[in-house]
């Protein structure tokens, strides 16, 4: 039957074949450097730079969290990301709630102010914030880094949460109140469960954005504050130990595990 045919049948055999080929090549492209990172975590580099393949070794994996600047930087990045994600999730979710639930003057301006940071190159955001701190005489430190991270994460959270909660049936709240629930009980039993998945997704996104941010952090960090990306950048000029590859591989494995667990958890929720 015509309606059962996959829509791309429309493209004809040659079209379909080349479409699949390009898509497959796209997936290969996505994983080339990842394969490189994993492979070079088993390299036995000759000098300080783990760039040329010399031979296989498991030594790099013996103690991946050797105390040192890389591990310190990783811990600092985790802290910054946790604080920034928490703060941005609160600020951004409140904005999203206001935009979806209430009518008020100035909604257009609020939306514009949320989108602008996303259409501003990082280099502009980073350098402008640094000129502000310089202008008012605030020394750059890990605090200014967190201020910057909260800033760009808040926009992402507000827009993500807004998109997720836009279509909800808010009359459930009225129903709860009509049945005698207190406002707090209505919020905790109706509103919160409705908005939690969207907020969690936004929090994870913020965490990922913060932990990987380089350009804005470079402009706003103090001289001794090395987040993980900053450490990699300064290391790239002097030495590139295989530990970087090991840590990157571990981060990758943990993220994939979280992704799989999340998918399984969601499936169980959907089934229940």
């Amino acid at each position: 039957m015509a309606t059962d045919r996959p829509p791309e049948a429309a493209l004809g055999r040659v079209g379909r074949w080349s479409l699949t080929a390009v898509a497959a090549a796209g997936f290969v492209f996505l994983f080339i450097p990842i394969a490189g990172i994993i492979a070079f975590s088993f390299n036995d580099p000759a000098g300080k730079f783990n760039i040329v393949w010399k031979g296989f070794t498991l030594d790099n994996w013996r103690d991946p969290f050797t105390p040192g600047p890389l591990t310190d930087a990783m811990i600092l990045s985790l802290k910054v990301a946790a604080i920034s994600a928490l703060a941005a999730t609160i600020l951004g979710s409140l904005i999203a709630l206001a935009l979806v639930r209430y009518r008020f003057k100035g909604g257009v301006i609020v939306n514009l102010l949320l989108v602008l940071p996303l259409t501003t190159p990082e280099i502009v955001m980073g350098s402008s914030l640094a000129t502000l701190f310089f202008d008012i005489g605030v020394d750059r430190s890990i605090r200014t880094v967190i201020i910057a991270h909260v800033l760009f994460c808040t926009s992402f959270v507000a827009l993500t949460v807004k998109a997720r909660i836009r279509g909800f049936d808010w009359s459930l709240e009225d129903a709860a109140m009509d049945l005698g629930a207190t406002p707090w009980r209505t919020f905790s039993r109706i509103t919160l469960p409705l908005i939690t998945p969207g907020i969690l997704a936004a929090a994870l996104l913020s965490f990922a954005l913060s932990i990987d941010d380089f350009i804005i952090t470079l402009f706003n960090a103090g001289p001794t504050d090395e987040t993980f990306p900053l450490r990699i950048y300064s290391a790239s000029r002097t030495e590139l130990p295989a530990q970087i590859n090991v840590l990157a591989t571990i981060v990758l494995l943990v993220s994939v595990a979280v992704l799989i667990l999340g998918t399984l958890f969601k499936r169980r929720l959907d089934d229940a």
Partner: protein
């Protein structure tokens, strides 16, 4: 209507509530996004009396703009050419990937989307450094292409330069394409996913052939995704300097490299500020024109 009820109800109890919810986040955005843009503008019009003292003095120094434009026009043009090429490549690779996931993913849709995102769980810098070693002179890419006797061809095509893949235009554009590809794939996927694909069947029932059905039905409906993806790719690519630093030579430096160098290494904040402002102005104007051309002004 539900919407009207909601409007009435919220009007009743709204008052200061929405503003209370908005203000913490909005104050943050105003203090640390809008105010800095104003100080950036001020700095861009300031003079720097001494190389050794970081202080600047405001004084309507429009020469900062004319000087930096004439000195760095090459880097500006290169940034936009690189970012434009990377964006086109992202559409060329990203559209088919998104299309195949959306139309043929079946039960594996989420797995395939996961595969698109997974590489980006590793750090941006580490991924780019990995490309550096893949493309390096002793690396696997050059080795493989030499064995296949393809290096000469790539040299002729202008992709490789003198038998090298690293430190070329193509390497920087390729790095930009790679690093921003998911920002193209995901919005296109979202817009394709929304399309009722039976529309293509309807088009064919009305005697259009497959290509016409795609061009007249699917493509226009997926343009908002292409639009959003292009902005999310082009804007960060135009301001990036990591790909140029790791995969290019000094001949491939982009405007981000100049801003970074002027600001953080030379301490020449007025020039860096002027360059940042020009970059932002060009991108804002470009975005508006692009929105008008594609007719998708309501991005949000």
């Amino acid at each position: 209507m539900a919407a009207d009820d909601e409007g009435d109800r919220t009007k009743r109890r709204a008052g200061f509530v929405p503003y209370a919810l908005l203000s913490p986040g909005m104050i943050w955005l105003i203090l640390f996004f809008l105010v800095p843009l104003a100080t950036l503008l001020k700095t861009s019009l300031s003079a720097k009396p001494s190389r050794f003292v970081p202080d600047v003095e405001f004084g309507w120094e429009f020469s900062n703009y004319t000087d930096s434009l004439s000195t760095y026009s090459e880097q500006f043009i290169r940034s936009f050419v690189y970012a434009g090429a990377a964006t086109l490549l992202c559409v060329a690779i990203g559209y088919p990937v998104a299309y195949v996931i959306a139309t043929r993913g079946g039960r594996f849709k989420n797995v395939l989307l996961g595969l698109v995102v997974v590489p980006f769980f590793t750090s941006f810098l580490i991924r780019t450094l990995s490309w550096q070693s893949v493309l390096s002179d002793n690396g696997p890419a050059v080795f493989l292409l030499e064995r296949l006797h393809l290096m000469g061809l790539l040299d002729a095509a202008g992709i490789a330069e003198n038998g090298r893949l690293l430190a070329t235009h193509a390497a920087v554009i390729g790095g930009l394409t790679y690093n921003f590809l998911p920002f193209m794939i995901l919005p296109i996927y979202v817009s394709l996913e929304k399309i009722d694909l039976r529309l293509t069947e309807a088009a064919k029932d009305l005697y259009s052939n497959g290509w016409q059905a795609f061009r007249k039905v699917v493509l226009p409906l997926s343009l908002p995704g292409v639009f959003a993806g292009s902005l999310l790719t082009f804007i960060p690519a135009a301001g990036d300097f990591i790909n140029a630093a790791f995969l290019g030579s000094p001949n491939n430096s982009m405007i981000g490299s100049v801003v970074q160098n002027r600001f953080l290494e030379q301490g020449d904040t007025p020039t860096a500020a002027a360059l940042s402002f020009i970059l932002m102005a060009i991108i804002t104007v470009g975005t508006l024109i692009y929105a008008r051309l594609l007719g998708t002004e309501d991005l949000v």
